[in-house]
């Protein structure tokens, strides 16, 4: 296995690990089933995806990652295919498209991109589910009880694990940068 393949294998494992963490964190720590007013959705996989997207420069690879992990996420967690499957690649292409705004990789930039991505993703999912009558929540309830707490929790977690996450994702795509 050459070094390029090994790095790609590492990236896939990294995203998969984050994927499982989403479900397990929800199950183990945020499992508020009896009083379901505030809903916090851990989005660790999105953190991994955003960090990798900002470092990988091959757009085709990004789209493939987006579709594959989108389908897995939808099928395993949602049971409805078409939410992450569409929104995730769109998001990744969007980040890739506005890369020219990036002056240098710093924490503030990463966090604000993550914040925007999370808002885009959750709002997109809400709108699609509303359209398909999977939910009857109104917009204000969604913002107050789902989007707000989710953003808050995830930003705090992102802040805490930023340094290992950034180092890890930089190491996983480093080869491609050096080769250019």
């Amino acid at each position: 296995m050459n070094i390029k393949r090994r790095k790609i294998f590492g990236q896939v494992l990294f995203i998969l690990f984050a994927f499982y963490l989403d479900g397990l964190i929800k199950w183990a720590f945020l499992n508020n089933m009896n009083h379901e007013t505030i809903v916090i959705l851990p989005q660790i996989m999105l953190m991994a995806i955003v960090m990798l997207t900002m470092r990988i420069e091959d757009r085709r690879q990004l789209i493939i990652y987006g579709i594959v992990f989108g389908v897995i996420y939808d099928s395993y967690y949602y049971g409805i295919i078409g939410l992450y499957t569409i929104l995730l690649p769109l998001l990744m292409v969007g980040i890739d498209h506005f890369r020219f705004l990036l002056i240098k990789n710093n924490m503030g930039y990463d966090i604000s991109i993550y914040f925007l991505s999370l808002t885009f993703l959750q709002t997109g999912i809400y709108l699609l589910e509303k359209l398909l009558q999977q939910t009857s929540t109104d917009v204000f309830d969604f913002i107050t009880y789902t989007l707000g707490p989710t953003l808050l929790w995830n930003i705090v977690v992102f802040f805490v694990i930023y340094i290992p996450l950034a180092n890890m994702s930089a190491w996983l795509v480093k080869y491609r940068r050096d080769s250019k």
Binding site: G23, H35, T37, S75
Partner: protein, 286 residues
Amino acid sequence: MQKFFSNKKLIILMILIIVTFGLLAVTVNIRDKKSTPPVVQQVGNDVVSVVGGVFAYPTNAVKNATSEFSDLYNTYSENKRLKTRIGELAQNQAKLEVVQDENKKLKQELKLNGTLTDYSTVNASVLSRSPSSWQNYLTINRGQTSGIKKNMPVMSGKGLIGRIIEVDKVSSKVELISTNNELNDKFAAEILGDNKNVTGVVSRYDSSTGDLVMENVNSTKDIKKGQSVITSGLGGLTPRGLYIGKVYGIKKDNYGMTNSVYITPAAELRNFTVVTVIKSSVHGEN
């Protein structure tokens, strides 16, 4: 024609929109109407869930350990209370055995093969919970190979927690009772009164109080706070006698037409790692 297809981005956008809605509509339809998802999706979900078991096992161990630790705090008072109940329990158990035996013999006499109270169980452990606001699903590690079918009720240690919504080969998804999906969260229920049982349908979940709401109740005259609520077995999918919770109060709806009974669910929907799937012996039309 050349002009029409010249804007590539517009075409891509159009195809994207069509694909999105197509996929969504098809999968929602399959979930609601078919008993299993397509084979590709089943295999995919199974692979993901089998690998996920590697991560779920240590997580469940930690979860068990932490809940044991929190149990230690109230051990003393609980022990005292339990000691008073234990004599009563032994007596009840002996009585239950005798009655069950008698019941079995009587059924043989009458040539009754299966009644609404007959069921068998399958234990499964929980792999994960969906990080989603409106799909309140648990993934469990048993599927078609263990005989699980769609719509079977699921219990945790103390009471009813939900219903199977998707079955794959070796994994399945449980939709929790605390869901506001209007199609799937209804259970035919019965309140055990002093002399007469009252039937109704558990149809809603009040997320602000954490109570289940039972509607279509025929009379509220005999209902008192603290009475037990069980599944009634009417409707065919759920056997009779699964414990749901205790009556908390009665409220009239906004128009004063019907009464809603509020039920505190028995299942503590937090500290469990193993669930029990109930297979009813009597099958209604599915």
